[in-house]
């Protein structure tokens, strides 16, 4: 397998060096191929996701395949524009000159994707960006979702130009072998622990990296809002996204002590509307991906400081790996459920005296990938936006910023570095090369030795745009 990784990297380097991936036509052909395989094989993709995650068809289509198709279509529509050099204004300092910024591909890039959305813009989004930007790309899907990994390998193998676009399946061994090769960029989606390993490996080759990690994404719920709509949107963002196994899932909620019971009631009511009286029987809820994660979540729930605080749900089915939507009220600050990213269908609600206290609470933790606020209070919204640092934010909804291609999607601090989606994906895999054109007219002696005070004065004035100063230096006034 180690030889496999080296061979793949070499093959792709040859293809890139031969200029295979640079032309607009090649990029378009690959994006069209990706679009075709996504739409033609939607059935199989849905089945693979059912097999890996028991993912409802709705989620598989709306969160995965439709997202990929839209991203391909956007790239196809905008690619000409994205590839165009950007003209830049020059100043007196470099007069006469013209300048532009030219986007060029980085070369051969590695995308390591994740198991919770294995066929989505999380996994294929970076591949779309890499191809649009003219790179050769290797995709290493997650082995934790084997059916989708296998399907990706088969479909991309059939539809894409495999001299420059490859899928390498496998687990830790294969990933380690891949990380030993030199890449021009690495794009990783996953957790902070492995993110550190990736960064350390990239450091050896000075490879720039995008890390899309996670975190505890908080939801602050103010009073005086449309609570029914807010509850539905929270449920949709939490349990409607892979049963909480999503990097931007609402992780925990903060609300005032007075409002908490109203919120719990609203959640309880809407959860029943969505999933029925016995959510474990609902086909619209994903399962937990495997027994290791199932046990991890059960441990969070059965912790002696937490188990007595369950106000909703708590049912579990070990055979089907399902856990019902569960709400916990005021778990202790130092309980595990309040200190690790939950990544599952458990929702702690923490109560505070004043809603403004939520901002301090959030800022005392690591920066999350997303932060949400439900409020109609303009001052609170402004304070939230300026004082809470997070990858991205949504006011009065959850998760939706992911589907807005004009917003950069990425983390900060522990939640990651770099961003993508839409044009930002193209930029993530491009080098923006500065190009300055000069001529020989207007060559100024002040640049060259022998140096003299008037030359210093002249240039100082030139740099600060001081035309009078320039003239004075020139004429010795």
């Amino acid at each position: 397998m180690a030889a496999g990784a080296e061979g793949v990297a070499e093959d792709l380097r040859s293809a890139y060096a031969a200029g295979k991936t640079r032309p607009y036509e090649w990029r378009v052909s690959q994006l069209e191929a990706l679009l075709k395989l996504t739409t033609r094989h939607e059935r199989e993709i849905v089945e693979a996701l059912r097999s890996d995650l028991n993912k409802p068809e709705y989620e598989s289509v709306i969160h995965e395949t439709v997202g990929v198709s839209s991203a391909c279509e956007l790239a196809l529509k905008e690619l000409h524009q994205w590839m165009k050099p950007e003209k830049v204004k020059t100043t007196m300092v470099t007069y006469p000159s013209s300048a532009q910024i030219v986007s060029e591909p980085l070369g051969v890039v590695l995308v390591i994707s994740t198991w919770n959305y294995p066929f989505s813009t999380l996994s294929l989004g970076p591949v779309i960006g890499a191809i649009a930007a003219g790179n050769a790309v290797v995709l290493k899907p997650s082995e934790v979702s084997p059916a989708t990994s296998s399907l990706l390998s088969k479909l991309l193998g059939e539809y894409m130009d495999t001299s420059a676009v490859r899928v390498v399946e496998g687990s830790v061994l294969e990933t380690t072998a891949l990380l030993e090769q030199k890449w021009d960029k690495i794009f990783y989606t996953g957790n902070g622990k492995v993110g550190r390993v990736i960064l350390a490996a990239a450091a050896k080759h000075l490879t720039p990296v995008v890390l899309e990690l996670g975190g505890k994404s908080p939801v602050v719920v103010d009073s005086n809002i449309n609570l029914k709509v807010a509850a539905r949107r929270m449920i949709s963002g939490k349990w409607g996204g892979n049963s909480g196994q999503t990097c931007v899932s609402p992780d925990y909620v903060i609300t005032t002590k007075e409002y908490a019971s109203k919120l719990v009631d609203a959640l309880s009511c809407e959860i029943e509307n969505f999933y029925g009286k016995d959510p474990l029987q609902s086909n619209d809820l994903s399962s937990i991906v495997n027994s290791r994660h199932f046990d991890r979540l059960i441990n969070l729930l059965d912790d002696e400081t937490v188990s007595g605080k369950i106000v909703l749900g708590g049912q579990r089915d070990k055979v089907k790996l399902k856990i019902a939507p569960t709400v916990v009220l005021d778990a202790p600050k130092d309980s595990p459920i309040m200190n690790e990213e939950i990544f599952g269908p458990l929702l702690p609600i923490i109560t505070v005296n004043k809603i403004e206290d939520s901002i301090r609470l959030i800022s005392s933790k690591e920066k999350p990938l997303a932060a949400y606020l439900f409020s109609n209070d303009k001052k609170l919204k402004e304070e939230f936006i300026t004082s809470v640092s997070a990858g991205g934010m949504v006011i009065n909804d959850t998760n939706l910023h992911l589907v807005e291609p004009n917003l950069p999607f990425g983390g900060v601090g522990e939640s990651g570095t770099g961003s993508y989606h839409g044009r930002f994906s193209f930029d993530a895999f491009s080098h923006k090369k500065a190009v300055l054109q000069r001529g020989f007219t207007g060559d100024i002696a002040a640049r060259y030795p022998p140096y003299a005070n008037w030359k210093i004065d002249f240039l100082k004035s030139l740099f600060s745009g001081n035309l009078i100063g320039v003239l004075r230096a020139l004429f010795g006034w």
Binding site: E57, I225, G392, K433, A434, F440
Partner: protein
Amino acid sequence: LTLDPLIGAISAGNTVVIKPSELAPACSSLLSSTIPLYLDNKAVKIVEGGSDIAQELLQQQWDKIFFTGSPRVGRIVMSAAAKHLTPVTLELGGKCPVILDSYSGSDLKSAVKRIAGGKWGPCAGQACIGIDYLLVQQKLAPVLIESLKRCIKRFYGDNVQNLQSICRIVNKNHFDRICNLLEEPGVAASIIYGGSLDRENLMIEPTILLDPPLDAQIMTEEIFGPLLPIITLDKIEESIDFINARPKPLAIYAFTNDKKLKDRILQETSSGSVTFNDTIIQFICDALPFGGVGQSGFGRYHGKYSFDTFSHEKGVLHRSFFPELEPRYPPWNDFKLEFIRLAYNFDYVGLLLHLLGLRRLFIPNRAR
């Protein structure tokens, strides 16, 4: 290099620690004594010291690290940053080539001035964007060399004891390093101008070499000194393959008016930046991002890019409670699925038909 990142960090609202280089002790000391007199020293601090201090600083958690220096230390910085998931900007170096196409007369004179100014002007060649080596067509080399020699004498003098308008080598270590480059077999023999050394004053005469061996260190490592190898080629177009066979440099300088060659250089080579018909000057064009690619680094700064480098661009989506989209919510069914699918594709007609239950009449099979 030191203060521009500081400007960027401050304008973006960060607190900053600067660790200046211990190899320039007078400047380090001046920064350390002057900055606290003018800036808020609760938020801007200078920490002086050598690599041990740097190592200690690197153990701390930072929200960003901006490093200017060599690739070797760049790897150390990035590895340390990895432990805290700290994003980094690395401004490294490389062998910045000059491609000189066929110029003559006053154009050649101007080109030569800019080449000389770009080689020995910035810190006697000790600059990341300084010219490292030059590529020229063989038959043009003699004229170029004569012109360069004249220019050097005019700018800097012709005697290592009386050099003017030029820096010295920063310290004995680097002086010896550069001297060693000249002592490799075949390299000394290729010196066609200069080569004189003044060890006491750490001065090295501007030196030109003609076609030194390509596997000698002077051609495989960044020179970072006042030695200019000239490599001759049969055709100037060969410069593209020559450059591509080596790590991506921080800058490529190309003196040419040939549009085809310009386009080929832009499309077929990769570098931090490209400047046509001049050298170094791209550094002061604040509208252009300044940074490397590949071995020359990643990340960028200057002008607004400095601000951006020390900022997190937070996406914020504002939604209102109305209208509500029922098909978002479970229990899901084919109707809801189709609705969202159509909405995603902005298929308003389809949506309307779907809502009215008429879509199946027009599109019996869901064809895409």
